[in-house]
Symmetry: C2
Subunit: 129 residues, 2 copies
Amino acid sequence: MNIGEVSTRAGLPAKTIRYYEEIGLIAAPRDTNGYRNFGAAELHKLTFLGRARALGFSIADCRALLALYEDQGRASADVKRIAQQHLARIDAKIADLRAMQDTLSGLVTACAGDHRPDCPILRDLGGTA
Amino acid sequence: MNIGEVSTRAGLPAKTIRYYEEIGLIAAPRDTNGYRNFGAAELHKLTFLGRARALGFSIADCRALLALYEDQGRASADVKRIAQQHLARIDAKIADLRAMQDTLSGLVTACAGDHRPDCPILRDLGGTA
DNA sequence: ATAAGCCTTCCTGCAACTGGAAGGTCAAGG
DNA sequence: CCTTGACCTTCCAGTTGCAGGAAGGCTTAT
């Protein structure tokens, strides 16, 4: 399988796959012509990576998760810890965004949005000045 | 006011203030010794920027908002449009994160987290393999 | 022979800073 | 007068996770 095919099958851009190889996340054996030649195992790993990334795991987390995935003697506790930490980061991010959303939606509602210069949004940003 | 004082008063790191000057977001007049010397107006602008950034506005948005802030003849509609677009981006981000949160919390709950290798999280990422 | 459609590497850029090195300036203390 | 320490300066590199594009090689079909 060349990179194009693996790209469509894994649902990842070729650029991303090359990048993953570059940072040592996956291996990509070469043909004599220099082309990358992927097998089923690498496709599987790339699909794994795609899902993990879609769940927001960092590359560092992905590396750890992939290692655990390959390790038949792993402890599920190690996987769970990573997932929990990530979940905590997500929760925190949502909380931050919600705070912004609250403030902003209030301001947007309060703003007339017409031709006049008076604007509660700018008033708020400027410190009620 | 030197950069240190303006930094504490605006609540922004000195590095950030230098960066804002570098990208032309603010001006920073110099003393004869080369030190930046800020006046009340610049402090005010930096505070404005700090609040806008805290609400998640991009630097590009901040630049536009700051211009509108300074423009006495602005239309509040222009401000509102920027804020609404940003709000939409925030809504979308929250939706994304919530989807991740949903999936992940389910997986985390399902994972025993003990010494055994069996793990629903890895099973899911690996495509039920 | 040539054109299209793959593939390769390498370099740059994005957002918004942060950290650190190397060095100038200033006020206080001995 | 000298030193110490806290400021300040510029410049360069790194962060995250790729994307865009140039310059060129391989393959297949016409």
